[in-house]
Every structure is written in structure tokens, then in C-alpha cells.
């Protein structure tokens, strides 16, 4: 039908239809065909609703898709219909004849107009999720189309939150590179980390303390994914060590970075890629900061570090080494600010806390940081044969393990107990394995000397008292418990501090003070981050600060708002729910080979040997893909139309309409709420909706009814699951289930029993029923036909399903013979009832609609006004008002459309006549 355009006085006369199942589609088409404008709003990515999930319709056995898809196709063709998918109603103002509606469009992440539905993106996507359209019976990719006949014919990306990325101080897209490793795309995995602004892939893969792994959801099944080892693998297997071309300089402004550690170099890397010229100053002769000066070579081979630093310098970052700022004759901050338009201070925490005991300044007593620095940079450290290391942090462990490698006997002295040690537990274990002796609850009181040489250290025993401000129990000396350790060298590793004097920015204690979100200091255009701000911390926190600083400096130099759209809060890992695409098979994490303790202490060779390729792939496949889309960007590469928009954002839209039709449909009852039926426990038990997908030619099995890959021989259907049911619900919040009859299940079961009979030749089919309600046109005749096909109807509502061997047994009473019966089955179909949509409460508040006791929307009169809602101008269509079959739904939708058109026509008439509006209540 040609759609005439009826507009009066240039004003558009429009209706809003909420929900695009068969009811919403029918109502929208009718109103549009009458010449009015329709906004058809659908929450999901495609129209079609529940009917598109059905195989056949009763009693005529028409193919559901065959009669629905032509109607779906009419929607985008109709010029009067504005179809808005992924969209929900947020707010409604006004009244009948003049509603002002705010809509919210969820990001699709795919440009609907550019997408041709070719599916190359999904082929490239490494992530699978349960396919809810197929009732979870198979899976689709993170970029997906609901079903092949979807309207609009466009893909969508499913994006959620992942605890690993949220926890990572640098927000590295963990799931992305892990998914790529799982696919054997090692180079892409390495690139993915680089693209996230992180130039230290191989370094972090070796030294990161990986807080991500503590939050990994996989641990709820067995063990966390070995994320850190996988990052290392991404570098080891993904880089070919070629260096990039210099990045083009786009902007005139120049940036100075003070400190060539992980924070400073990360900022320089990111700003250079954005088109700035960056110069990095450092007091030390070699770049890398603590990575070079603090971390021993057996944990981080220098070839890896220098490779990654060379990558950064190849991009065009200029390094000025041996150039201290603000001391030793170097330039001051003010000097830099004259020449550079922005400065990032990442000076680290290279100072040392003093022991505070007599004799600490003698030769033979070292501080861990300079000791490690000398060793790491200069390769010269004159220590004795017997070394005492004081402290329990990572530096203490590093110093101890280095001293061991220099041939000394090493004793580590810590004033608290093992559980309070701040060092990583696995580092402590390695040190012990290599032969470091640990002495707990002891503290030095003085260094002993003879002839200016260390001869020993006097210690005192401690006991643990009340917890202090750090939450750890405070060590208290035990008087008179002094004893002497016979050593010739002492290495103090009790704390690091920031050498911030003379820097020219505000400090608190020794640390630089910044805005935690933007990293701005007290001086305009000067930013700071890393250890210098938060105290001695970790490489990944420094890298995270570097990324944030680059963002801030870019915004600052471009005159943009520094805060907009940035946040430090992310959903708590505990609140993130994961639904794995397939059952999780328990598998422990892959472990790296390590050098034996004997081989380790003979030199500074790397201890951990990395995962093998097979191990890495197996380990990566353990990822549960919490965020669904891993942001691996493979779809972007695959799409030839440039339709993928990973940065798509939610949008608001406002429309003015005269009238609204609500056609939001229903949910199916969740049979987990009837635990006696063992749904989810036994694979043989499925819902009637799952049966529809199994029977459908376009379903996951192409229409074959298979359970565990086999055609079932004994099939049982159970009616009234969750309907006509007021049973008490043990130990749950909800007291009752659904007292009402869902109206369609009796006939749906008859139809499904017929399909089972048709597709499973020779199968014994039993239907358990309480009553059979065959009340519609042709229904009783269909019920007669099905029985005559040889389906056994037994009167009795089953009580429970239990397992017996490989089969399940349905236990019931056949009430016509008055005996308890047990019927074996290899497929049980639960005819689950209809229930109000889960989000009905929100919609009812938004639209101010009343609901009846059963939870569905309330009509104005149960007999005479079944399409009118409790709000004038808002009409109800289909199952949102109560359970209905398809013919009743279509009739109801047409009635709602008719009521809406009366409203629209009245408004049209008044506006044509130029009279004041008089929108009497419908």
C-alpha cells in the first residue's frame, strides 16, 4: 500500500510504538499505512521479537519466520516509519495529544548505514558468547547479528566490563591480547598492547606484580589466567625487533619529560605518537630509571629493556642523559618551562631511608638502591663474603638475591614476620630456594666494627604488638634479647624516598603533589606522576601514570577540558557477572619453566623461561572473556566499509508524539525456580523455547532435534511449568510463582509433540497435563489430530525429575489410575509460561502505567477497553498486557493501532481547522 503523508499545518502527527515484536510491527505498519509518522523503538538490535524465535505456529503449522519476515521487511521500506533499534524510552513528559519523549540509543559500535551485513567482522572476531536468540543452545561472536533475517541488517558489538582491564593501573586491554594469543596471532597481540599506549610489553610481562590476576574471574572455577606470562609471551613471540619509522611531528609545541623511567618514557612515547616533539632528561647515564638501575638482570634481561627503549627513541623521542634537573649545575624547571610548553616530572623515588643505628656510615654498609644501581649499571660491587640485608620489601629481596649471585652468603633480617613482608610472596620463595636465609622478628641496633671494617651487626629480637596505621602488627623489641650476626657487609633496604628538593613544585613530605585525575602540579603546564607522586610503587602504576599524563598534556596544549569524560572509578570486579559461552572445563594454569636454583645463582641469567607456544595458546584459551568484546580490533581490520566504531557512545534523542503504543512483550518463566525439575542440572531437560530453536530449520541444529548429539527415543512434555502455580518457594525471596494460566502452552505443547513425532520417527512421546485448554479456532481439532498420531496424554502434573544412569526419570502420579508412575526419558520439554518482562517495573514508572496483580500492564476495562492503558493516549498491544497467542496478539495490536489513529486523526482535524487543541481523554 502506498503510504500517504498526512500532515496538518506542517506539524507532524506521530505515534511512538515501544517494542518491535509482532505486536509492535503490526501496530506501526497500520498507523504508518494510514499516513501518520511512527517512531518504532526496539531495545534489541533487531525487530521480530519472540515470534522470530518460533519454528511453526499452531494450529496451522505455518512456518513462523515465513509469515513474519515479510512484515519485518516492510518496516524499513515504509517512509513513515522511523525505526530505532538498541533504543529505550528514558523519559516521558506531557499528555495525550502532546507527549515529549526522551529516547536513549545504546551504542551499536557499528554504523548501521554503512554495514552491509557481510559478516567478515564476525569471522575475524575471536570471542564467543552464548546465543540468547537460540536460547543459549549455541554461541555467537562478540560482534554479531541476532539472526540472519535481522532488520536492520547490521551487526552489533556486545561490550561489557572486565575486571582485569579495570584493575590494571594502565588499563591494558588484557582480554584483547589474550584472545589474539589464543588464536595464534602473536604479532597482533604484541601490537595490541603497544596501541594501548604501553611501550613496555616485554618488561611488564616480566616484572609486573599483576593485580589483574588477583581479580580474574577464572579463579571462581579453578585458577586465575596467567596474564603476566601471556603478556611476556606476546612480546617474546610477537616482536621481530624491527624499529618503527619516526612519528610525524604535527604540533609546534614541545614537551620536556624529567626522568627516563617507565612513567617518563611512556608519556614520551604517547605524546610522540600524537605528533609532539618530546625531550627526556635524566640524571643517570643510561635510560630506564628503576627498570635499569633497580631491577636485577635475572628478572629483566637488559636486551629486552634496551629493545623497548630503542623502539621509543626510534619514534623520535630525544634522550638527554646525565642531565640532572634543578641540581648539580643542570637546568632548572624554570629553564625548561621557557623552552618547552609542557613538562612532565617523573623523577622516581631513588633516595634511601636511613637505618638510624650507630655505624651505619662506615664502609661496608650500603643502601640497597645505590647498591643495585652500581651493580646494574656499572657492574662493580665490592661486597664481602657474609652479607646481612635489612628489610622485607622487594628491594631487599632483589639486593639479597644479587649478593647471592656475587658469591656471598646472605642473611635477610626483617623486623616483622613472614606474613607482613611487603615483598611478593613468589619472589620471597625464589630467594629462599636459591639459599637466602630469612630471619624474622629481628632488627639491627648497631653495626660493629674493627679497624674501620664491618665485623658484624647487633640485632634485637622483636615481638608483634597491636596493629599500626598500616594495618600490620607493630613490632616491639624484647628487652635484653640482643645478639650478634657475624657479617662483613650490611645492605639496608628499609625504604625509598623521592629526592624532590629544589624541584620547584609543591610537595607533601617528599612527594610531589598532583590532582589525582589530571596529574597537574601546583605549577601551570607542569604535570607529575609515577613513584615521585605515589612513593615507591610498581612499574605498571608508573606506566598508567605515563598514559594519563600524555592525555592531560595533549588536552592542555590543545586547550581542551582536562577532566571531561575521565574517571578513576570502575565497576567493582565483584559486581561483574560472567556467563561463559560454554561450560568451563577445569584446567590449572600453565606454568613457566624456570632455571634450577643452582643454575641461577651462578650468574645473572633470567630465571623464568617463558611459556612455550603450546602453553601460551592453552593458557590464553582459559580466559572467560568477561567483557565479551576484547577490543582486539580484528573487526576493524576485517571490515571493508569502515563501519566499526569502537568509540561509539550512547546518545539521547527527543521526539514529540500524540500517542504511544506499548508492545514490549513477555519473558519466559525461568525453570531454575522449579529446582525439582533439575533444569540446568541434567542436559536432557530443555524449555519449550529451546525446543523451538532445536526444531527450527534456521536454529543451531538446522532443525534436527538432538540431545547430546543423539535423537531422543523417549520424549516427555510437562505442561504448566511456572503457570497456574502458587507454590511456596523455599529459601527464596519470591513467595509465589505464577498463579495465572499462560494460555499458549497447551497448544504449543500439542504442536511440539506433533513436531517431535514428525522429526523423531518411532519415539515414544508422553504429555503430562492437568487440563488441556484448546479454546481457539481450530485448536480442539488440532489437539484431536495430535492424539491420533499416537501421542500419549497422561493426566497428572509431574512432581520431580531425578537421574537414573544416563536417563532421567519423570516422577508423577497418573491421576486417572491413581498410581505413582516413573517415566524414563532422554528428552524432557518443560512448557514454561509467560511472565512480565524483567524491566517492566522501569517502563511502568517511566510511562506511569499501572500493572495488574500478575505484573502485566493493566488495561482500563477487562472487557471493553483492553487496549487502553491507565494513562490516556497510551495504548497496550500484545503480551505486555497478558499472555496471548499470535492471532490474539495481532488482533490486539490492530485494535491498539486503531485507538491510536483515532487520537492522531482528532489531533490532525483540530490542527487543520486551526482550532485550539482539545484532546479529551481517550
Amino acid at each position: 500500500m502506498n503510504a500517504p503523508d498526512m500532515r496538518g499545518n506542517g506539524r507532524s502527527h506521530a505515534a511512538l510504538v515501544v517494542g518491535a515484536g509482532i505486536a509492535g510491527i503490526q501496530a506501526a505498519l497500520d498507523i504508518a499505512d494510514a499516513g501518520f509518522k511512527v517512531y518504532l523503538v526496539e531495545k534489541s538490535p533487531s525487530i521480530g521479537g519472540r515470534m522470530s524465535q518460533l519454528d511453526k505456529t499452531f494450529p496451522t503449522l505455518d512456518c513462523s519466520s515465513c509469515i513474519l519476515t515479510p512484515k519485518m521487511a516492510d518496516v524499513p521500506r515504509n517512509p513513515n516509519i522511523n525505526l530505532l533499534t538498541c533504543t529505550q524510552v528514558k523519559e516521558v513528559q506531557g499528555q495525550a495529544g502532546g507527549f515529549h519523549i526522551t529516547l536513549e540509543r545504546e551504542p551499536r559500535y557499528v554504523d548501521e548505514s554503512a554495514c552491509t551485513g557481510c559478516g567478515l567482522c564476525a569471522d575475524a572476531c575471536p570471542v564467543s558468547v552464548p546465543n540468547t536468540f537460540n536460547a543459549g543452545l549455541d554461541s555467537h561472536k562478540a560482534i554479531y547479528r541476532v539472526f540472519p533475517q535481522a532488520v536492520p541488517n547490521a551487526f552489533k558489538i556486545d561490550k561489557r566490563e572486565s575486571p582485569c582491564k579495570n584493575t590494571c593501573p594502565a588499563h591494558i586491554p588484557v582480554q584483547g591480547y589474550v584472545a589474539l594469543i589464543a588464536q595464534g596471532k602473536f604479532r597482533e597481540a604484541y601490537q595490541r598492547v603497544l596501541e594501548a599506549g604501553v611501550p613496555f610489553v616485554g618488561t611488564l610481562g616480566r616484572v609486573c606484580y599483576h593485580p589483574c590476576e588477583s581479580e580474574c574471574k577464572r579463579a571462581d572455577w579453578d585458577e586465575a589466567v596467567s596474564i603476566c606470562a601471556l603478556k611476556r609471551f606476546a612480546y617474546d613471540a610477537g616482536t621481530d625487533h624491527t624499529k618503527p619509522e619516526p612519528a610525524p611531528v604535527k604540533y609546534a609545541e614541545r614537551v620536556a619529560v624529567i626522568g627516563a623511567g617507565p612513567a617518563g618514557l611512556t608519556t614520551a612515547y604517547n605524546l610522540t605518537l600524537r605528533g609532539y616533539k618530546v625531550t627526556v632528561f635524566d640524571a643517570l647515564p643510561a635510560p630506564g630509571g628503576m627498570l635499569a638501575a633497580g631491577i636485577p638482570e635475572y628478572r629483566l634481561p637488559r636486551t629486552v629493556l634496551s629493545d623497548e627503549i630503542e623502539y621509543i627513541t626510534a619514534l623520535g623521542v630525544e634522550l638527554k642523559m646525565s642531565t640532572p634537573i634543578g641540581r648539580d649545575g643542570g637546568p632548572t624547571l624554570d629553564d625548561l618551562r621557557k623552552e618547552y610548553q609542557a613538562v612532565f616530572m617523573a623523577i622516581g623515588a631513588h633516595g634511601s631511608s636511613r637505618l638510624g643505628v650507630p655505624g651505619e656510615d662506615m664502609p661496608g654498609v650500603y643502601q640497597a638502591v645505590p647498591f643495585l644501581r652500581h651493580l646494574n649499571i656499572g657492574h662493580e660491587a665490592a661486597i664481602g663474603k657474609k652479607v646481612a640485608v635489612i628489610g622485607g620489601g622487594n628491594s631487599a629481596i632483589d639486593a639479597a638475591r644479587c649478593a647471592l649471585r656475587l658469591g656471598a652468603e646472605v642473611q635477610l633480617v626483617y623486623r616483622r614476620s613472614r606474613t607482613e613482608m611487603p615483598a611478593a610472596a613468589w619472589e620471597v620463595a625464589s630467594a629462599e630456594e636459591e639459599g637466602v636465609k630469612l630471619t624474622f622478628l629481628s632488627a639491627p641496633t648497631k653495626v660493629l666494627e674493627k679497624d674501620g671494617r664491618v665485623t658484624g651487626i647487633e640485632c634485637i629480637r622483636m615481638e608483634l604488638g597491636e596493629p599500626d596505621s598500616s594495618g600490620r602488627r607493630r613490632p616491639v623489641p624484647i628487652p635484653g634479647s640482643e645478639y650478634v650476626l657475624d657479617v662483613d657487609t650490611v645492605i639496608a633496604a628499609i625504604g625509598q624516598n623521592v629526592e624532590s628538593t629544589g624541584m620547584g613544585v609543591e610537595t607533601k613530605w617528599d612527594r610531589l603533589v598532583v590532582d589525582p585525575l589530571t596529574l597537574e602540579t601546583s605549577v601551570k603546564g607542569v604535570f607529575a606522576g609515577g613513584d615521585a607522586v605515589i612513593g615507591p610503587a610498581s612499574v605498571v602504576e608508573a606506566v598508567g601514570a605515563g598514559i594519563q599524563a600524555a592525555e592531560s598534556i595533549h588536552r592542555y596544549l590543545r586547550g581542551m577540558d582536562l577532566r571531561e569524560g575521565r574517571t578513576q572509578t570502575h565497576p567493582n570486579a565483584k559486581d561483574i557477572k560472567v556467563v561463559p559461552a560454554s561450560p568451563v572445563k577445569r584446567a590449572p594454569r600453565e606454568r613457566m619453566q624456570e632455571l634450577s636454583a643452582v643454575d641461577r645463582i651462578n650468574g645473572f641469567k633470567e630465571v623464568e623461561l617463558g611459556l612455550t607456544q603450546e602453553q601460551a595458546i592453552a593458557e590464553a584459551q582459559r580466559c572467560l572473556e568477561c567483557a565479551v568484546c576484547s577490543e582486539c580490533m580484528q573487526c576493524v581490520d576485517a571490515c571493508q566499509r569502515g563501519a566499526i566504531q569502537h568509540d561509539d557512545k550512547a546518545r539521547h534523542m527527543e521526539v514529540d508524539v500524540e500517542t504511544v503504543i506499548v508492545a514490549t512483550g513477555f519473558d519466559v518463566f525461568d525453570p531454575h525456580r522449579k529446582p525439582e525439575f533439575g533444569y540446568g542440572q541434567y542436559p536432557q531437560i530443555i524449555t519449550s523455547l529451546e525446543f523451538e530453536r532445536l526444531a527450527s530449520a534456521s536454529g543451531p541444529t538446522a532443525g534436527k532435534i538432538l540431545i547430546n548429539g543423539q535423537m531422543p527415543k523417549k520424549v516427555v512434555f510437562i505442561q504448566c511449568v511456572g503457570s497456574r502455580d502458587k507454590s511456596i518457594s523455599l529459601g527464596r525471596d519470591d513467595d509465589t510463582l505464577h498463579p495465572y494460566c499462560s494460555r499458549v502452552c497447551c497448544m504449543a505443547v500439542a504442536k511440539q509433540a506433533h513436531l517431535a513425532h514428525d522429526r523423531l520417527p518411532g519415539a515414544a512421546i508422553t504429555v503430562f497435563y492437568m487440563d488441556v485448554r484448546a479454546f481457539g479456532k481450530g485448536f480442539e481439532e488440532f489437539y484431536d489430530r495430535v492424539r491420533k498420531e499416537g501421542i500419549t496424554y497422561r493426566r497428572g502434573n509431574p512432581s520431580e525429575i531425578i537421574r537414573r544412569g544416563y536417563k532421567v526419570v519423570v516422577r508423577a502420579e497418573d491421576t486417572l489410575i491413581g498410581e505413582q508412575v516413573e517415566v524414563e526419558a532422554d528428552l524432557v520439554v518443560l512448557a514454561v509460561g509467560m511472565q512480565p518482562r524483567a524491566d517492566m517495573e522501569i517502563l511502568s514508572r517511566t510511562l506511569n502505567l499501572s500493572r495488574s496483580e500478575d505484573g502485566f500492564f493493566l488495561e482500563s476495562h477487562p472487557k471493553l477497553r483492553t487496549v487502553e492503558s491507565s494513562v490516556p493516549g497510551i495504548y497496550l498491544a500484545g503480551c505486555c498486557q497478558g499472555p496471548k497467542d499470535i492471532p490474539d496478539t495481532v488482533a490486539h495490536a490492530k485494535a491498539a493501532a486503531s485507538a491510536a489513529m483515532i487520537m492522531l486523526n482528532r489531533s490532525l482535524a483540530t490542527s487543520i481547522a486551526g482550532e485550539g487543541a482539545d484532546y479529551a481523554a481517550n
Binding site: K726, L730, M770, E800, I802, E813, T815, Q820, V821
Partner: protein, 382 residues
């Protein structure tokens, strides 16, 4: 003739709501082996006109009051309560099994159904330091119950309970020889008069000692204090917090007031007692306690939680063989436990403990599986 006024009875019991779906009988564990058919019983009563003859309906004494029928009914009809009410008609005429008569008399005279002396009730405490709530006061009353007070096996549970609660630092006391039967079983046997008398007596004691919180070993005592007592006598009642000990332990573990330092490295399966599970929806707490014990591997039987099979020890069946004394359900249950490969069959009810223990012996399975109360496992892991 043992007639009841059937229309009045059906009204009082809400039986007109019945749609004859058969879910009650379909799930009834006794319908598997005896003539008991709750749906049929209701139907016959509904069509009986004004008088329903109970004569010869011996199967009424088969019911274990496991509540499967009520928990499955889509219309909230309670066949179990109707059966108990029918039993009352027998009791009123004094027509009960001699064992039942003895048990009821013993409750009346000695405050326990076990024919034991009132003055021996606290014998299980010998050698233990336990507060008397009457003399020293305490936050919680530890209501021990009859079986744990007298039965040697039950006593082990009671003693374990004291150790576990002490380890968690719970301030509790007992009534000692002044403790009385809770009379849950009298009520289930249809002796309502005796039950109400015992309620009055026990509530008097609780009131005098100002007891506001109590925990029990037996789910039967727990259920009756929690659900039956509030309905008897004058309203409103004194507020009383009633907990089963597994609820207490689960809470203590969660708050880290109770920590298990020891190992219990065994495969354990847990049998849900009906009066904890099907009657009160307490499924997770006992499992939480077991899961918090180091080394313990919890495996589930097919029939667990809402589907748990009754051990056939409730509803007075501790004193009645029933009309089909053949294979007891407890034996089926032990077989189900054996199929899981578990070494320990854990439960949290003195009746279940006793019936399951008996069944293990009957099946000669002592080498393969042991029946233990959760308290007995907990004490080994302190």
C-alpha cells in the same frame, strides 16, 4: 467407625483448593512403597458428603511429614497437615500403636519420648564445663533436645557442639535436667493436647529465664520452636530468635569468628534433613560450613536440596515401622550416597543420623562410608 466431619474438615484444611494434579503423590516418598496417596485421600474426602470414614486407613501412619507434598503443591494445599489432623481423630479415641502410646506417655511424664528418666537428662555433660543458663545466664540457650541428651550417638554430637561453640566464643548455656521435650513429634503424631501443654510449660521456662535467643541440634526442635510455638496459645508472643546450629555456624564462619585450622581431607556428601530443607528452606548454611573446612571435598547426591529423599525418621516414624517395613528409605539414601563415591555421609539431624547409621549397618557398608553430623566433622577440624 472412625468418622470425621469431612466438609468442615476440608474447609479448615483448605482442601477445596485442590485441583487433583497429583504432584503431592507423584513426589511422596511413601507412595513409592505403601498405599499412602495424598491426592486420592483428599479426593475421597471431598466427595464423601458429610462423613469420611478413617477406619482401616492404616497408611495415615506411614507419613513421615517430610513436606514434599506441600512444597510441590501449586495451590498451597498442605496434605501433610491434613494427614496429621486425621491422625488426631485416632489419638482422640485412644486408638494408637502401643509404641506411640509409650512415647507420648514418656513425653508427658519424663519430658522425653525415650522412656528415660528426667534426672538423667544432663548426664551427657559429665566432665564438661557448660554454663547453666538458669544460674549463670547466657546470650543463647543451647536447646539440646531429647535424642542428643540420651542417645549415646546423639550425645557425641551434643559434646561436639559444645566444643565448636566454645571455639567460636559463643556465650551459651543449657537448661540441664530442667530441659523438656519440645514435643514436635507429639504434634506430628496428632497428640495436639499434649503438644499444647508442653508448649505452655516450655514457654514458661523461657519466660522465667528471659531467654530470647536459642539454637538447637535437631531440625525438628528448631522447626517447632520457630513455626509451631508462635501459633499456640495467647497472642502476641514474646519475641524469640530461633536458629538451627548450622545457621549459627555458617554465620560465625562468615564473620570469621569461627575458623577451621585443622584438615578434614575427605569426600563428603550432605543429606538435607527434611525439617531443615523442605520445611524451612535452609539448604546453603550447612553446605557453607562444610565448604569452609580445609581439605573437605563436598560432592552432591543427585537428589539434593529440594529433592532430598526423606530418611523415614520423621512424623513419629522413629517409633513406627509403617505398613511396609521392607526396604527403609534410609537404605536407598545410603546407596545414593555410596554412588557418589563419598567416604562420609554428613547430615545435621539426630533422626537422620540414627536412621542412616542403621542403614549403613544393614547394607554392611561400614567400611565404605561413615555417617557423621556436621558438628562432629567441625570439631575434628578445629
Amino acid at each position: 467407625m472412625l468418622q470425621i466431619e469431612s466438609r468442615q474438615f476440608a474447609k479448615e484444611q483448605g482442601l477445596f483448593a485442590c485441583v487433583q494434579c497429583g504432584k503431592c503423590t507423584g513426589g511422596c516418598p511413601m507412595a513409592m512403597k505403601t498405599k499412602l496417596n495424598p491426592r486420592d485421600l483428599i479426593y475421597r474426602l471431598l466427595i464423601a458428603g458429610n462423613g469420611f470414614n478413617l477406619e482401616g486407613r492404616e497408611e495415615l501412619w506411614d507419613c513421615t511429614t517430610c513436606s514434599t507434598c506441600y512444597s510441590r503443591c501449586p495451590k498451597q494445599v498442605n496434605p501433610m497437615e491434613a494427614i496429621i489432623a486425621m491422625r488426631s481423630a485416632f489419638v482422640e479415641k485412644g486408638r494408637v500403636h502401643p509404641n506411640v502410646k509409650t512415647a507420648l506417655e514418656s513425653i508427658f511424664r519424663q519430658g522425653n519420648p525415650l522412656k528415660m528418666s528426667r534426672s538423667d537428662r544432663a548426664n551427657w555433660t559429665k566432665g564438661m564445663q557448660i554454663k547453666s543458663i538458669a544460674e549463670q545466664g547466657a546470650e543463647y540457650l543451647f536447646y539440646v533436645g531429647c535424642t542428643p541428651s540420651y542417645d549415646p550417638r546423639g550425645q557425641k554430637v551434643a559434646r561436639s557442639m559444645v566444643q565448636v561453640m566454645n571455639a567460636a566464643g559463643v556465650d551459651f548455656g543449657i537448661l540441664g535436667n530442667d530441659e523438656n521435650c519440645c514435643a514436635s513429634e507429639a504434634r506430628r503424631l496428632g497428640e495436639l493436647g499434649l503438644f499444647e501443654g508442653m508448649v505452655e510449660m516450655n514457654e514458661e521456662i523461657f519466660k522465667d529465664l528471659e531467654i530470647t535467643k536459642l539454637f538447637t541440634i535437631s531440625p525438628h526442635c528448631f522447626n517447632t520452636f520457630k513455626n509451631d510455638y508462635p501459633k499456640v496459645g495467647e497472642q502476641p508472643k514474646r519475641p524469640m530468635q530461633v536458629q538451627h546450629y548450622t545457621q549459627m555456624l555458617s554465620g560465625l564462619v562468615k564473620e570469621q569468628r569461627l575458623k577451621f585450622y585443622g584438615e578434614f581431607a575427605k569426600k563428603v556428601t550432605y543429606h538435607d534433613p527434611c525439617y531443615l530443607g523442605k520445611h524451612n528452606g535452609i539448604f546453603d548454611e550447612p553446605r557453607n560450613v562444610l565448604k569452609s573446612i580445609p581439605g573437605l571435598e563436598l560432592i552432591e547426591m543427585d537428589r539434593s536440596r529440594e529433592k532430598s529423599l526423606c530418611c523415614e525418621g520423621g512424623g513419629g516414624r522413629m517409633w513406627l515401622e509403617g505398613t511396609n517395613p521392607g526396604t527403609r528409605l534410609a537404605q536407598l539414601r545410603v546407596q545414593e550416597a555410596l554412588e557418589t563415591g563419598a567416604e562420609i555421609l554428613a547430615t545435621a539431624c539426630p533422626f537422620c543420623l540414627s536412621t542412616l547409621d542403621e542403614a549403613v549397618k544393614h547394607l554392611n557398608a561400614e567400611e565404605k562410608i561413615r555417617v557423621l553430623d556436621i558438628a562432629e566433622i567441625a570439631v575434628q577440624a578445629l
